[in-house]
């Protein structure tokens, strides 16, 4: 009744197996950590990501409009 079923091996193989399993789990965790912290370059042109200032100084434009406009036709000036 107490006799173990199946083939038995030395305890050292069991210990090596446990160490291999633990090492593989640690390896997986390390790989995931590296993958998470790896810099990923998204393929977008830098010009597209450059912030654009959509502000227009309309006061300056109004100042320009209020200035004296002189359109000189150089060819027919004389």
């Amino acid at each position: 009744m107490n006799k173990k079923a199946g083939r038995q091996v030395s305890r050292i193989y069991y210990q090596i197996g446990v160490m291999t399993l633990v090492t593989s789990i640690l390896w997986v965790m390390l790989s995931i950590y590296q993958a998470v912290n790896k810099d990923i370059d998204v393929q977008v042109k830098k010009e597209m990501l450059t912030p654009l200032s959509a502000e227009l100084d309309t006061e300056v434009l109004d100042e320009l409009v209020s200035r004296r406009q002189m359109k000189v036709d150089v060819d027919n000036f004389r």
Binding site: K3, K4, G6, R7, Q8, V9, S10, R11, Y13, Y14, G17, V18, T20, L21, T23, S24, I25, W27, V28, S31, I32, A35, V36, K38, I40, V42, V44, M48, L49, T50, P51, L52, S53, A54, E55, L56, T58, L61, D62, L64, V65, R67, R68, Q69, M70, K71, V72, V74, F77
Partner: protein
């Protein structure tokens, strides 16, 4: 001495045999299937689960980075929409910017004629007008086109003479023109350049800068040795 060595050797042999016997005890041994399960599990973790998890982590990282880029792009799209709205609202005023700082030519002739007209209107005597170097025409290249244009400073010196109110009128007209003039110095003198001292007549020499848009690198080719600001 040799006796003690023999004793030690026999003791070692005894214990070694004991350990061998100890490991042969079924209670100390482990099942082969258990050990194989451990190795197989480790193998699949390395061969299958690790690449899968790395791929998942990389994809998640990629999604996070893409969302950041998407946020930046959305911000830029909103800015572009606002810029387009501002452009449409102020489209009629853009022509005034072009007349203030010409973008397609130095507009040399027109500016000189304008000064002459103002001098006539103000009734001052235009003694001289001097503008800095500018490229009027080149059949080899055109610095007044392209996207690399920048503001080029053109120095201007104007000398007029007349009465004080006429000089003031001329100065006001000149500085309120659509072509922007940045006056740097104004010199007033009671004697004309011709050396004729007249009653109530003064002369004014004005130095300043006007601007136009052109490609600085192409202009430097055309006007070597002339430092453009």
């Amino acid at each position: 001495m040799s006796e003690s060595k023999q004793t030690l050797a026999s003791r070692y042999k005894h214990y070694a045999l004991d350990i061998k016997r100890y490991y042969r005890i079924p209670a100390v041994q482990k099942s082969l299937s258990l050990v194989l399960s451990l190795f197989i599990t480790a193998f699949f973790i390395i061969a299958a689960i690790r690449p899968t998890f790395i791929t998942i982590a990389s994809l998640q990282k990629s999604i996070v980075e893409s969302e950041k880029v998407l946020t930046q792009l959305n911000t830029k799209v909103r800015s572009l929409e606002q810029a387009q709205r501002l452009w449409e609202e102020n489209m009629g005023k853009i022509a005034y910017v072009d007349s203030s700082i010409p973008t397609t030519k130095a507009d040399y002739d027109s500016y000189i004629k304008t000064i002459e007209i103002i001098a006539l209107e103000s009734q001052v005597f235009l003694e001289g007008t001097n503008l800095g170097d500018a490229l009027l025409y080149s059949s080899i290249f055109d610095p007044y086109t392209g996207t690399e244009r920048e503001g080029i400073t053109l120095p201007v010196t104007i000398s007029v003479s007349g009465t004080y109110p006429q000089i003031i009128q001329f100065y006001k007209s000149l500085t309120s023109l659509d072509r922007l003039l940045d006056p740097l110095s104004v010199t007033l003198a009671t004697e004309g350049k011709q050396g004729k001292e007249q009653q109530g007549q003064i002369s004014m020499s004005l130095s300043g800068n006007i601007q136009y848009m052109a490609s600085k690198s192409l202009l430097e080719k055309a006007l070597p040795g002339k430092e453009k600001r």
